[in-house]
């Protein structure tokens, strides 16, 4: 079974530039999550989708971050314009239903460095 795919693995940009990350979840998984993990910290939930609807985006900095889930499958996370403090690993995860029914499957992450 293929896992959660993310790209790119690494991205270096200058502040005020834009960047986009792509995620392809495990086939059939209804719930998709984007987490931000700053070095030395635990993952922080940015946005959670159930199929193609947003369940929670309370921690998403909406002035610069946006995310969409096309047709309830793939998802993109965009940052525009980037700030130095956005340097982090962006993790995409998916689950069959919600977290209460079982595990989240994580991708390898996209490491962003903002200079």
């Amino acid at each position: 079974e293929a896992g959660v795919a993310q790209s790119p693995r690494y991205k270096i940009i200058e502040k005020r530039q834009s960047v986009a990350f792509w995620c392809n979840p495990i086939s059939g998984h209804a719930t998709l999550y984007w987490y931000q993990q700053i070095l030395g910290q635990g993952p922080k939930l940015l946005i959670q989708f159930q199929n193609n609807g947003v369940v929670d985006d309370s921690q998403l900095p909406k002035d610069r971050f946006s995310a969409e889930r096309l047709k309830g499958v793939d998802s993109t996370l965009k940052i525009q314009p980037a700030k130095l403090e956005d340097s982090a690993v962006y993790l995409c995860a998916s689950s069959l239903q919600g977290a209460d029914t079982g595990e989240l499957f994580f991708g390898e992450g996209s490491r962003l460095t903002v200079l």
């Binding site: 635990g42 989240l104 390898e108 992450g109």
Partner: protein, 112 residues
């Protein structure tokens, strides 16, 4: 405010010993709690889920306990091996939601 606390200091133990990691939480009433393993440069990998009505759960050399009175979960690895060296994260749902919140993780180092 809601808080999840894991020991930020690394835990160093000798191979063959039992490693015990702690996850404490405040202002949460989680119906379940999950533990994940994260290796450097990789995404977290699910290990165990324990529900509030379960006191203990085991999987091979892993054991998790969940004490809703103490608001604490303990994660044990028996007969630890160098390959168990990683960061271990606990996660629980934010109150009345399905939103999974992670602790900061504890780094475990098992030396031969």
């Amino acid at each position: 405010s809601q808080k999840i606390e894991q020991n930020s200091e690394a835990l160093n133990i000798q191979e063959g010993k039992t490693a015990t990691l702690t996850c404490n939480y405040t202002n949460y009433s989680p119906a379940y709690l999950q533990w994940y393993r994260q290796d450097p440069g990789r995404g977290p990998v699910f290990l165990l889920l324990i529900r509030e009505n379960e006191k203990e759960k085991r999987k091979e050399r892993l054991k998790v306990t969940f004490d809703t009175t103490l608001k604490q979960s303990l994660f044990h690895i028996t007969a630890s091996q160098p390959a168990d060296s990683a960061t271990y994260l606990c996660a629980l749902p934010s109150n009345n939601t399905d939103k999974l919140i992670f602790g900061t993780g504890t780094r475990l180092q098992v030396f031969p």
